[in-house]
Assembly symmetry: C2
């Protein structure tokens, strides 16, 4: 693959790992993020700093974004000094943020007017997946736009799938978050029960993680819960945002999701107690500290 | 390992697969099950029929049971013509049924009075795990009794762990069922959402089953849900029994389990609608047929 100039907006936990994969493959990466100091390590490794999303987009063939909330996505695309002010015809934008399917459709419509392609491409696999380049990337958009960015996605993901029109990637990600949310409750309850029953919970995990109760969360997050390691991974506040998008979409579809509703209530409770900046495994605290 | 005479009580979906592994390894197996016709294929393959649990136990070095409910376990151990009437000193009983931790303790106490060992040894891994000899087996009981049966468990399980005193195996299995129960809700909701959003659900599974949403149920049961294959695997009625044991135990521990409570309500609903003999993946019907 020919080296490309990539703009990357949002160099948080996941974004920084992704930028490193692009740099390692010889691509030029221009970065912008709200708090410049967070990008300093990347600049030390060869990334170029831009003063705004607009400036980052100006020279880029591909513009990727990975920010926090749908409102942040709106800002970096449509705001003053946003991507759409700087982007060149023929380039492609990819929003890797988990955001609303409707917003993905709007970005696709607006970029098309400027002669650009768009792929909504939320990811799954967490901090570990980003670091190892083994993310699942769920893509929506035109076939043409997808083909353009597929080789780049191959550098950061091991499971890159095009699901259909704009917004499809976000819908698949919602499906993903729905599965995670209710499972996280189960993982916490299984551990809390084991501890209360006087068992050795690490041994319990050896028994149950490889059978029918097995899951990514049980293998990867339950050990962190037991160690009292609640560092993010994936923020409670962002997960809560995802669950609310999923519930909004489900309401429009007239689909009741009692499991997600319970998860939303519990994560709201956790957030109200001041743990929004913890990792999602922090849900375990509701079972051990407050019950 | 020297060939042993094993008695096996309860030759349902899982039990039959387990007996076949023992026969294949050269052990003699005496079987008893409530409905004799269910044991006929095994008798054709070399198992010996007994007219009661008592008779089956009489010549056996190891007596294993895998029946439906705790009341069935009580019957086969303590009832008229039950195991305790026939068992010889020096033999070991193993209850593979998922049953109550308290009952496991009672079996251990009563068999000890007769000079016998006892291991509570519920399993996980479902019909597939039983067939492939890759079950997780969660064991409680004395070290001595466990060592006696460990080689036999090696024939049917790939993950055999001794967790402590009598009842510990059952507690670990409850932890396992708790993790499965809430996850099953998430799997159903993720699929129902994907279908309602107009996505291709098989492609969605390709995206999400290998990432942070991945689980045994998502990989193994979601495809069955999509095909409309609701055959057991694991019965709704038995799963419901497990969830009620877990909730009873949690109540004693003063541990609230809202996820399991939701699952118990939903599985009760499913059972009341006449689907108790379906496999647990049948929960998906609540999202597609009744909402």
């Amino acid at each position: 693959m020919e080296p490309k100039r990539i703009a990357f907006i949002g160099t948080g936990v996941m974004g920084a790992s992704i930028v490193r994969h692009f740099l390692a493959a010889g691509h030029g990466v221009t970065v912008y993020t709200r708090t410049k100091s967070k990008a300093d390590p990347l600049i030390g490794e060869g990334a170029v700093w831009a003063e705004s999303p607009e400036e980052a987009a100006r020279e880029a063939k591909v513009v990727m974004t990975m920010v926090g909330y749908p409102s942040d996505v709106e800002d970096v695309y449509f705001g003053d000094q946003g991507i759409l002010s700087g982007i060149r015809p023929g380039s492609v934008v990819c929003d890797l943020t988990t955001s609303s399917p409707q917003l993905a459709v709007r970005i696709a419509e607006e970029t098309e007017k400027l002669g650009c392609g768009s792929v909504d491409a939320p990811v799954s696999g967490g901090d570990v997946g980003a670091r190892n380049g083994t993310l699942s990337i769920m893509c929506g958009g035109t076939e043409e736009a997808f083909r353009e960015v597929e080789p780049l996605f191959g550098l950061i993901g091991s499971n890159v799938i095009h699901h259909g029109q704009a917004g499809s990637g976000q819908h698949v990600k919602m499906s993903n978050q729905i599965a995670i949310a209710t499972n996280m409750i189960g993982v916490c309850e299984a551990l809390a029960y084991a501890v209360k029953a006087g068992l050795n919970p690490e041994r319990v995990l050896e028994s149950i993680a490889t059978g029918a109760a097995g899951s990514w969360s049980l293998s990867n997050l339950a050990p962190r819960m037991l160690k009292g390691d609640f560092a993010p991974g994936f923020y409670v506040k962002h997960f809560l945002k995802d669950l609310r998008i999923a519930l909004d979409e489900a309401k429009v579809m007239e689909l009741p999701l009692p499991g997600v509703e319970l998860a939303e209530q519990m994560y709201s409770d956790l957030s109200a107690r001041g743990f929004g900046d913890d990792g999602t495994q922090s849900l375990y605290k509701l079972y051990t500290q407050f019950s």
